[in-house]
Amino acid sequence: MSAARRDVRITVNGRTYAVSVEPRLLLVDFLRHECGLTGTHVGCAHGVCGACTVVLDGASVRSCLTFAVQADNSEITTVEGLADGESLNALQRAFHENHALQCGYCTPGFLMSLTEFLRETPDPSEAEIRERLSGNLCRCTGYANIVRAVQAAVQEM
């Protein structure tokens, strides 16, 4: 079962991890177990729910469908990399103020998907926001407050 391990060098939230991994190790397990960054969650492990979304070299990816070896020599941002010390960033703050999360399990995936989206689409319409949000599932909020939060964050950014 255990194929030859591979050395990878992956930078996560500014810190570089040089480790040897099994080729089949999923990126999400690398982040959670090798880096101890448990803010990235597994919701379905088949690429539908988006809870595991991280930003890899600027693009949002499903870390449950990505192997750690595919991220070799890449830079990754996870939810732990969003806040500036004690201060939440504008998007996180807008989620807080608009009650855009309840259980919070899906929230990191939404934040990371939106991080890429708002960089590419700084002034989105509600339809564009909803289209983007449709790639992530939330079972608690019914999405309305997430839409409001994105709109509020856009105003502030």
């Binding site: 079962m1 255990s2 099994e22 089949r24 190790l25 959670r32 960054l37 448990t38 803010g39 990235t40 969650h41 597994v42 919701g43 379905c44 492990a45 088949h46 539908v48 729910c49 809870a51 996870t78 939810v79 732990e80 969003l82 806040a83 939440l88 996180q92 989620f95 807080h96 103020e97 009650h99 999360l101 309840q102 259980c103 919070g104 399990y105 899906c106 929230t107 990191p108 934040l111 926001i129 909803r130 289209e131 949000l133 449709s134 599932l137 939330c138 079972r139 608690c140 909020t141 019914g142 999405y143 309305a144 407050n145 997430i146 839409v147 409001r148």
Partner: protein, 795 residues
């Protein structure tokens, strides 16, 4: 009664929109869900081998290859653990109930696809899963049955061979004089409603980590549960341990919704294996296992007959309920919940005085079904509101008038309905009128063409007047023969030596916002800011005993306990402050983190100073006469009855004539859950509940084929709503405080889903009225809608 969107009284915390305290950690990725709890060194990872058959005899299990795999510590079968974990059963006295047993791992017979057959313990989760593929189990397939009506046939396969038939529970009742009233009515309308089986689909699947504590031969179980205290009672009972040998901790939980209020085999297995192997044992469910084994919900059939007069007044209602209970009854609810809650919720807001029901919970070769947001209420409300629309169509009376003639009127509170539910207060007519005003009902009707078709879309409007049963205490649970539900909850509130406040409750949270709402209640009682308060719960070691989180009981029951305990603490604080200020305790007011003498604000001490005195951290003795050291209070709360919230939901839908796709274009809720603790959070509950109801109404369905194979086992096959499907609700609150519980609160967790099923179903019925409009099953997926358009008939 007041109509408002935000505060009740200015200056108080209860009633104010306050963003949540818990967000800070969750938004940073610092939440600790079950898979995030630090794994002790040497943790063994448990994986389950599950039955591929709906019903089969296990002939043999060859574990030798799996055991030989590097990294595998053990492979355990049902036969191996039969003595360690005896078969467990929901066991209670109720006429018509039969005890059925479930084994944590099936020793000889499997009863649904997903039933546990063997487990692997390995060094990591990857190896554990590899090893599953190396276990060779031989089965003799047995005839199986997945459909509830098929399971009732005399020649149906028997799910439990030791029982006479597949009926796990049955009952019924009829009011005195029912037959005469039923037959004397002008009209009788009969309809059969089928309600789809759904899956709770919390975004966080289940999981647990059992840590063996060598020092005292105990186990700490971390598990994603709604009911840590009830789990400890159940596990200790079934394993024959003392409760002090077991600590159950619910960390952050990624959505509960009902299915996480049960004891599952994996919890017993990880606990038992941790002690057996003197090692931490961890199991994390994947999404496939979640769909296979986390209890489903609904899958009900309702045969309804309504007797009504020509003026639209309902005289009598009769219902026969069939519930597909799945393969096993379960702790702590047995199979009692759904079959009996349907009839209990059936009258809803209506005043009819004659009611008859029969109900059955039936075993099949499918996953167990159990609580999911609203339990049976969304289903029976779908049926009752469907009947109201049919009565309106038959009589040519507007659907609003039919409802108006039947709902409980403002001058009738307190009202006791036909199934003895006490409605102390409510706003049934007011909510409906306001919702109709918001949607501009008259104008909507005036612009609606009779055939409903504009630009390729049939448009319709649906109205649902709903009640929501919440905040039940001991008396209700005992009356419902639920011995394993205590009904009360408990809070311990203390002023810490540094003057801050720590409250620990018997509750666990799955995203409801208790850290904020309970703090709001305490802040008002003690005159402090919510920033000075820490709320904890979910840990049997550090929190007082209580029932747990389900059935919209947070604000009413746990909130009531919090209010009582902080009220008791307030009186103690006053005595200490009075001593320090040389005043009378009766004259002390708590405000802004200080105690001052009424009318003399400068005569004050801070809570810090009070705490220092109470904990003996002072130069001299500051203990008032008759008082003991410390400042803490513990209180339980057991509400006398249920709290009944109410709402009116209005849905406006567009049905694509070519594709059958239903779009919800507008959705209005006017909602009354008594005194509102935090409007922001109540709105969030309603919006989220409507989203789940919309999912059940339009997409979601757990499907088994005739062999009991699950067909909807991924999130690509089981469709939960996305941001493209759920509109932003137009929402208002009306407050009719409960008059018979301490806080005036009523439950708010389930009304959203209860109203969404009927509102959306009735709206689609209205859109398709040219084809009969006879919506009597869910979900209304495009194929089902096209069937209504093409084959529509009936009433």
């Amino acid at each position: 009664m007041s109509t408002s969107d935000t505060a009740t009284d200015a200056g108080t915390w209860v009633g104010r929109t306050v963003p949540r305290k818990e967000d800070q950690r969750l938004l940073r990725g610092f939440g600790t869900y079950i898979d995030d709890v630090p794994e002790p060194r040497g943790t063994l990872h448990l994986a389950m081998l599950r039955s591929p058959y709906a019903h089969a005899r296990i002939l043999s299990i060859d574990t030798s290859e799996a055991e030989a795999l590097d990294g595998v510590v053990a492979v355990v079968t049902g036969a191996d653990i039969a003595e360690l974990i005896p078969p467990f059963a929901a066991d209670y006295e109720k006429p018509g109930f039969k005890v059925s047993h479930r084994s944590a791992l099936a020793p000889d017979t499997v009863r649904f696809v997903g039933d546990g057959v063997a487990l692997v313990l390995a060094e990591n989760a990857y190896i554990a899963e590899d090893a599953l593929g190396l276990i060779f189990a031989d089965y003799e397939p047995l005839p199986s049955v997945a459909d509830v009506e098929d399971a009732l046939k005399p020649d149906a396969p028997r799910i439990h061979a030791d029982l006479d038939d597949n009926i796990l529970i049955e009952g019924g009742n009829k009011t005195d004089g029912f037959d005469e009233v039923f037959e004397a009515a002008d009209n009788i309308l009969r309809e059969r409603f089928r309600v789809n089986r759904v899956a709770g689909t919390a975004m966080e699947p289940r999981g647990c980590l059992a840590v063996y504590e060598k020092a005292d031969d105990s186990v700490t179980l971390w598990t994603g549960t709604q009911v840590p205290h009830l789990l400890r009672v159940g596990i200790a009972r079934y394993l024959g341990w003392s409760e002090s040998q077991l600590r159950v901790v619910a960390p952050d939980v990624g959505g509960g919704f009902g299915p996480k209020m049960y004891l599952y085999p994996e919890e017993l297995l990880t606990v038992a294996m941790a002690r057996q192997y003197r090692s931490p044992v961890k199991w994390i469910e994947d999404r496939l296992e979640d769909f296979l084994t986390t209890f489903h919900a609904r899958d009900h059939v309702y045969d309804v007959a309504v007797a009504y007069n020509n003026d639209g007044t309902v005289q009598a209602v009769e219902v026969d309920v069939l519930v597909n209970s799945g393969a096993y009854s379960n702790y702590p609810m047995g199979v009692n919940l759904e079959p009996f809650q349907g009839p209990l919720n059936m009258p809803g807001p209506y005043r009819f005085r004659q009611f008859a029901y029969t109900t059955k919970g039936v075993a099949t070769n499918t996953c167990s079904t159990g609580a999911f947001r609203g339990v049976s209420a969304p289903c029976v409300t779908f049926a009752m509101e469907g009947m109201m629309d049919r009565i309106a169509r038959h009589l040519g009376i507007d659907r609003v008038d039919v409802r108006r003639r039947n709902i409980v009127r403002p001058d009738e509170f307190p009202y006791v309905n036909v199934v003895n539910q006490l409605y102390v207060s409510g706003s049934y007519v007011e909510c409906m009128d306001r919702a109709l005003e918001i949607v501009d009902y008259e104008n909507y009707l005036a612009n609606q063409p009779p055939e409903r078709l504009v630009d390729g879309k049939y448009r319709g409007i649906g109205i649902a007047v709903v009640t929501e049963l919440g905040g039940q205490g001991a008396a209700r649970y005992k009356a419902r023969s639920l011995p394993d539900l205590p009904g009360f909850d408990t809070a311990h509130v203390e002023l810490e030596p540094n003057g801050r406040i720590l409250a620990t409750t018997s509750f666990a949270s799955q995203g409801q916002g208790h850290e904020t709402t309970f703090a709001q209640i305490i802040a008002d009682e003690l005159g402090v800011s919510i920033g000075d308060i820490t709320i904890r719960g979910g840990d049997t070691e550090n929190s007082p005993f209580g029932t747990g989180t389900f059935a919209s009981r947070g604000a009413v029951v746990a909130g009531g306990a919090v209010m009582r305990a902080s009220g008791d603490l307030r009186e103690k604080v006053k005595k200490f402050a009075a001593h320090l200020l040389e005043a009378s305790a009766d004259d002390i007011v708590l405000e802004d983190g200080h105690a001052h003498v009424q009318g003399v604000r400068e005569m004050r001490v801070s809570l810090y100073e009070v705490a220092r005195a109470a904990y003996g951290l002072t130069d001299s003795m500051q203990l008032p006469e008759g008082e003991e050291f410390g400042l803490e209070a513990i209180a339980t709360y057991d509400p006398p009855a249920s709290s009944i919230s109410n709402a009116c939901h209005v849905a406006c839908v567009a049905v694509d004539a070519a594709t059958g796709l239903v779009e919800v274009e507008r959705y209005i809720v006017v909602h009354d859950c008594g005194r509102v603790v935090n409007p922001l959070l109540v709105k969030g509950q309603v919006q989220g509940g409507v989203a789940q109801g919309l999912g059940q109404a339009l997409f979601e369905e757990v499907l088994y084929d005739s062999d009991g194979q699950l067909l909807s086992a991924t999130l690509m096959d089981y469709l939960v709503p996305t941001a493209l499907d759920v509109p932003t609700l137009e929402m208002e609150h009306i407050e009719s405080p409960a008059t018979d519980n301490i806080g005036g609160f009523k439950g708010a967790g389930e009304g959203g889903v209860i109203g969404a099923l009927p509102a959306i179903a009735c709206a689609v019925g209205d859109a398709l009225v040219a084809f009969g409009g006879n919506v009597n099953r869910l979900p209304l997926r495009p194929d089902a809608v096209l069937e209504l358009i093409e084959g529509g008939n009936g009433a």
